[in-house]
């Protein structure tokens, strides 16, 4: 199986696992889901990437991860403000 297909399958399995646990726990939280998705895609891209060449799909995924890191920063800022306001 191609590395690309493996990465897609692993990411899908991780997301389904997270959603499944959240549904079992009846705690569907978008922020937690986003953070767990970001962790999953980060690990998968690191495992799939090669030091000799970077396929185009991995370059796109890295851009997505960079955007996710910025969004994660916004979430952290909101949480800090929420804690300070209590």
């Amino acid at each position: 199986m191609m590395k690309k297909h493996l990465a897609i399958s692993a990411l899908a399995a991780w997301v389904i696992l997270v959603i499944g646990f959240m549904m079992l726990a009846r705690t569907l939280d978008l922020e937690i889901f986003f953070v767990l998705w970001l962790i999953g895609i980060l690990i998968i891209v690191e495992l799939a990437s090669d030091h000799t060449a970077t396929p185009r799909y991995l370059s796109i995924l890295k851009m997505v991860i960079a955007s996710g890191v910025i969004l994660f920063g916004v979430i952290v800022a909101r949480k800090i403000m929420e804690i300070l306001s209590q």
Partner: protein
């Protein structure tokens, strides 16, 4: 091997994430009380009939046992076998707990099962009280014999009055037991069970009541009229103004004591349900009056009698406390920053209900409890988690002669503190918030940029290395290291044939690809190039730049690309042209070698 630590770290991270989710969800894992009421599909009415059929198979044996248990228990009580009564009562209690667990585990919402469970719970209470009452009744019979032998008139009278209280209580229990008949029998018939043991238990219960009534009447007539006629010199009489009262009504007892040589005010003790409620001074004519407001008196029959100096007893009077309806008014909740304010009033048709407990319910779960003040009002701020909730107030107290009631239900939305800030003052009104947001976004941007630009540490392949023809094979330490790093390089060099030439008429002279491979090997040998297999014709040309044979090699590369990559079939002239270029390049190389 390099990926093993990464895989281990990933596994540890995944497990940590799952554990964190599980911890956040609380316990139990599969059922969160907080989210229970939020689930829209919590009750699927379409599936209920089918599910009921499946569940009935599990509930049926238990219902049958619960229908039979009261009959056996009442019969054992009737036989005064108190050791077995205690054991059977414990078994009955255990069966009732099993029913409660089964109803919760199977999530049974059918009204019949809920009613049966409630009636069974009531029966358990009734039979427990019947056991306690009959046990005490037997003790009184023993004490009566002892005091009768010793001639203790005071204690005999006390026993008689306590017996009267027990008789009233057991009569009430019997009436309550009959009230459960409809639910128990209807449920039993619905499941095609034999309900005759339950009907028989009612007859046995009635026999117990008749036995106690007969025994109490005998005892009362003997004590009052037969044994102590001399006590008639003192006469203590009482009467009740109202024999039926409700909540907030006044129970008024009036009486008079006649003493042969009455010299002044005396004190008479009033007992309600065998509990002393106060000592009342008499007037000059020996009359007295006692009254109190009905508040925390349970629904049902209550007994009253008076005692003078512990030796003169009045007759026993009874009054009935009837249950009254209540209305609970809850004003719209006031949602503040951190709390939700609940205000309301509890009252009956005629009066307010003071000092009564009121529960605040959110999504079916109790949030807090508050007591009403003397005016029946309550006011409390409760902390409720952010989100959408359904809230109401509930009054339910067994110690009051009042029916349970609940207020109207309100849908409220509790905002989290950050949403409140955004709504009230705007997110960017506080410079601190702006600073936090800017700092966080800046840091995340730097991290994202670092992530995009970073290079992973690890093996970097060596760049192409070549040597001028007069320098020979690499002998310096750096190149030796590289040769060691790539063990197959030496093997590739060994595969280059010793004689690199293709003559006209030979087997491969018309094959341009073979000519190119041969020339590439020859050039690589001259340049001591380590990786010839990856070179294209154009790269071969660029490698030979500024070398004496570059013109010939580049000419071959140009002709080769032109004819081979041109997309047309090669003609004989094209092949000869390529071979001519090949020969010129090889001659240039051979000229250098020689």
């Amino acid at each position: 091997m390099r990926r093993l630590p990464a895989l281990l770290a990933s596994s540890a991270l995944i497990i940590t994430c799952l554990v964190l989710i599980a911890m956040q969800s609380g316990s139990p894992l599969l059922y969160s009380p907080r989210s229970d009421a939020l689930a829209n599909d919590h009750v699927n009415t379409a599936a209920l009939p089918r599910v009921s059929e499946d569940r009935s198979a599990q509930v049926l044996p238990l219902i049958e046992d619960l229908l039979n248990s009261p009959g056996s228990l009442v019969l054992t009580i009737k036989a005064n076998d108190y050791e077995n009564v205690a054991r059977e009562l414990e078994e009955y209690r255990h069966l009732s707990r099993n029913l409660d667990s089964l109803v919760i585990n199977l999530d049974m919402t059918e009204s019949e099962i809920a009613d049966f469970r409630k009636a069974n719970s009531e029966n358990l209470y009734i039979l427990t009280e019947l056991f306690n009452g009959t046990d005490r009744w037997e003790e009184l019979k023993t004490l009566e014999i002892r005091y009768r032998e010793s001639g203790d008139a005071q204690m005999l009278t006390s026993i008689t009055y306590e017996g009267e209280f027990l008789r009233r209580k057991i009569q009430d229990l019997y009436r309550d037991y009959l009230d459960q008949e409809d639910v128990m029998v209807i449920t039993g018939k619905k499941f095609n069970l034999d309900t005759s043991p339950y009907i028989q238990s009612e007859r046995d219960f009635r026999d117990i009541v008749h036995q106690i009534e007969a025994g109490q009447e005998d005892r009362a007539s003997t004590v009052v009229n037969g044994l102590f006629p001399h006590e008639n010199r003192y006469q203590l009489t009482i009467n009740l103004v109202d024999s039926k009262v409700s909540y907030a009504d006044r129970v008024q007892v009036i009486g008079q004591i006649l003493i042969p040589r009455y010299s002044g005010p005396e004190s008479v003790d009033i007992f309600i349900d065998s509990q002393k409620v106060g000592g009342i001074p008499t007037a000059d004519d020996g009359s007295f009056s006692y009254s109190r407001v009905v508040e925390q008196d349970t629904e049902g029959t209550h007994t009253v009698f008076a005692v003078y100096k512990g030796s003169v007893f009045s007759e026993i009077r009874t009054f009935v406390v009837e249950a009254g309806a209540t209305s609970l008014i809850l004003e719209p909740p006031e949602i503040a920053e951190r709390y939700v304010g609940f205000r309301g009033t509890l009252r009956t048709d005629t009066a307010v209900v003071g000092n009564a407990p009121v529960e605040i319910i959110s999504d079916g779960k109790r949030v807090t409890m508050v007591s009403t003040d003397t005016a029946g009002n309550f006011n409390i701020d409760a902390k409720i988690l952010p989100g959408d909730h359904k809230v109401k107030a509930l009054f339910q107290a067994d110690s009051y002669p009042l029916s349970p009631s609940e207020s109207v239900e309100y849908d409220i939305t509790v905002l989290d503190s950050l949403s409140l800030i955004e709504r009230e003052a705007g997110l960017f009104a506080n410079p601190l918030h702006i600073g936090i947001l800017v700092a966080s976004i800046s840091v995340s941007c730097i991290v994202a940029l670092f992530y995009l630009r970073r290079r992973r540490p690890g093996f970097i392949p060596p760049s192409p290395v070549f040597h001028l023809p007069d320098s020979g094979l690499p002998v310096d330490s750096d190149n030796t290291e590289r040769a060691l790093i790539i063990p197959h390089t030496q093997e590739q060099e060994n595969n280059i044939p010793a004689v690199l030439d293709v003559q006209v008429g030979s087997a491969h002279w018309r094959d341009p690809s073979h000519l190119f491979l041969t020339l590439r090997k020859a050039v690589s040998r001259h340049l001591s190039f380590l990786y010839p297999g990856s070179l294209t014709p154009r790269e071969l040309c660029s490698l030979c730049k500024n070398l004496p044979f570059s013109t010939a090699v580049c000419r071959f590369a140009r002709d080769y690309e032109h004819f081979v990559y041109g997309g047309q079939e090669l003609s004989g002239d094209n092949r000869e042209t390529i071979h001519a270029a090949y020969s010129a390049a090889m001659e240039s190389l051979e000229g250098i070698d020689h």
